[in-house]
């Protein structure tokens, strides 16, 4: 078996993995990225639409352009990249960690590393997860799979399309399917408000007069061999109302019903997973419950912007380096998700080295207020012009912010939105 040794091994070469690796290399440590696909970039390579890079590069790029900016940095930094190679397991060893990597080209390779950064991204929730009743014909795809088929492989999955879920991936696919000649008959959203950005509602639905059915569900899929029609039902008091249901004939159903961090590898390595984010539980340095294993990007919690994933990953790279240099935080405070907040990531903060927090709300609101309390005293407030559960909120904390916090080591920082 071939063997290679690095200071840091990064699993996954999407936005997060690349950004983390570049930072590790910038600080002079050796680093390898292992990526299962035949190119770097991850999910970005199929997101051909623009809307990436406004934070990172101050310009609007498409997914592949955003990815290539990072690929260039990875190459310039002299990072080793193993493509078409899957990490199958992570084991503890005396020197650190052993990664067993499978590929056609090199057989099984053992990578030894002192620290590991998990950046495996996420997978899409599917029909089973939302339990749509009916038959099981061909023609039911997750939206991301359809995106891959159209944009990378060049195949059209169907001609008459209904989309379940109004998240950005679903909306973008509504326009994309229209632009490849399919007819999109509607987008069905269970919530009373759309999950995606308004600009995508305008540009991807309204431009093409595609109806958006809010507070509706696809209550049945019909078709023996291929999808023939779906039943769409309005929700009345939370249950589908049969009397007001209607049918839409179609041959294709695209599901855009959420993403789940892909953490099987992490779990097998003993990493503790949060039931709320489905990502690892991490401390203020993005380290998981297993010392030396860090996590960032979509495998930690689902980011709606690649820019945020990259930013978080860069910090993670720096933290991994610091850990290897034995720089550990003296104190860490626990962060608690307060009123109207689903989660805050990471779940801890180092009061000597405050940085960025990401959170998701449980509510939709204009002119909301972010409130941070330490031991029940308000320590920071900020206006949020608009919040909704599908849009991640980023909160920057500066040294000035925390200077007069007087935090004890058992203090808890509670973050809420009003």
């Amino acid at each position: 078996m071939h063997e290679r040794t690095y200071d840091v091994a990064v699993i996954g070469g999407g936005a997060a993995g690349m950004a983390a690796a570049v930072e590790v290399r910038r600080q002079g440590l050796s680093c390898a990225i292992v990526e299962r696909e035949n190119q770097l970039g991850g999910i970005l390579m199929q997101c051909i639409h623009n809307g990436f890079g406004v934070q990172e590069f101050k310009k609007e790029l498409s997914g592949p352009e955003f990815a290539e900016e990072f690929m260039d940095m990875v190459a310039d930094a002299g990072t080793d990249v193993f493509l078409s190679t899957t990490v199958d397991s992570i084991e503890e060893s005396e020197q650190g960690k052993e990664l067993y990597c499978y590929s056609r080209k090199n057989g099984v390779v053992k990578l030894n590393a002192q620290a590991v950064i998990l950046a495996m991204g996420c997978r899409e929730r599917n029909r089973g997860n939302i339990r749509t009743p009916g038959t099981r014909p061909a023609g039911v795809f997750t939206a991301g799979l359809a995106q891959r088929l159209v944009n990378v492989e060049g195949y059209i999955p169907g001609k008459n399309v209904v989309i379940v879920g109004s998240g950005d991936i679903g909306l973008i696919m509504a326009r994309r399917m229209t632009w490849v000649g399919a007819k999109v008959h509607g987008v069905v959203e269970i919530q009373p408000y759309p999950a995606g950005l308004t600009r995508n509602i305008v540009q991807c639905l309204n431009d093409f007069e595609i109806p958006l059915y809010l507070s509706h569900v696809v209550s049945r899929i019909e078709g023996k061999n291929r999808v023939e029609k779906v039943t769409v039902s309005p929700l009345v008091n939370g249950i589908p109302d049969e009397d007001q249901s209607f049918e839409i004939p179609c041959d294709t159903l695209l599901l855009s019903v959420g993403l789940v961090p892909e953490n099987e590898l992490s779990e097998n390595a003993g990493v503790e997973i949060s039931p709320i984010t489905s990502g690892a539980v991490v401390d203020s340095t993005m380290m998981t419950s297993v010392p030396g294993i860090f996590s960032c990007g979509n495998v930690l919690h689902v980011h709606d912007l690649a820019d945020y994933a990259a930013e978080e990953a860069r910090r993670t790279g720096a933290y991994a380096v610091a850990w290897l240099q034995n720089k550990k935080p003296a104190r860490q405070l626990r962060i608690k998700a307060g009123a109207n907040v689903r989660y805050v990531s990471p779940g801890m903060i180092n009061p000597e080295l405050p940085d960025k927090l990401y959170l998701r709300t449980l509510i939709v609101k204009n002119n909301a207020q972010l409130v941070m309390k330490l031991n029940n005293n308000i320590v920071k407030e900020r206006k949020l012009s608009h919040v909704q559960p599908s849009e991640m909120v980023s909160v920057k904390l500066t040294k000035k912010d925390v200077e007069d916090w007087h935090a004890e080591s058992d203090s808890v920082l509670e973050v809420s939105v009003q």
């Binding site: 390579m45 051909i48 352009e65 060049g154 305008v202 608009h386």
Partner: protein, 124 residues
């Protein structure tokens, strides 16, 4: 000139998503419902000549990378999009190609180009 019409629209310049009413009065365009100046600019442009960015893919001569992603360098008038798409779907690009390569120059005198958004290798 046809009778001035009133358009309802949603400003997409920021997440607040102001619902706006836009109409013509005394040779100028009136935007109502916007909370800030960006909304007025968006409203005027959307009223007079709505424009959109186009992102798409074109065929290549490679089996491994059969599609090359492309985009317009700026927004183009909405009514020209369908024609542009047809033109893009009829292209076949010989690889290798570098990101940023211009594939269509100054499309229909709009000053807008279509560029490749991915670097793809030629046959190994």
């Amino acid at each position: 000139m046809s009778a001035p019409e009133t358009k309802e629209m949603i400003c997409i310049s920021c997440p607040i998503s102001c619902r706006m009413t836009v109409y013509e009065e005394n040779d100028s365009i009136v935007v109502k419902g916007n909370k800030c100046a960006r909304g007025k600019v968006y409203g005027e442009e959307e009223y007079l000549a709505p424009k959109r960015m186009v992102t798409c893919t074109v065929a290549t001569d490679s089996e491994e990378f059969p599609r090359l992603p492309v985009r317009t360098t700026a927004s183009i008038p909405k009514e020209t999009i369908d024609e542009l798409l047809q033109e893009l779907y009829s292209l076949n690009i010989k690889l290798p190609v570098k990101r940023g390569t211009t594939l269509i120059e100054n499309y229909h005198d709009t000053g807008v180009d279509v560029i490749a958004t991915m670097t793809l290798p030629g046959r190994a």
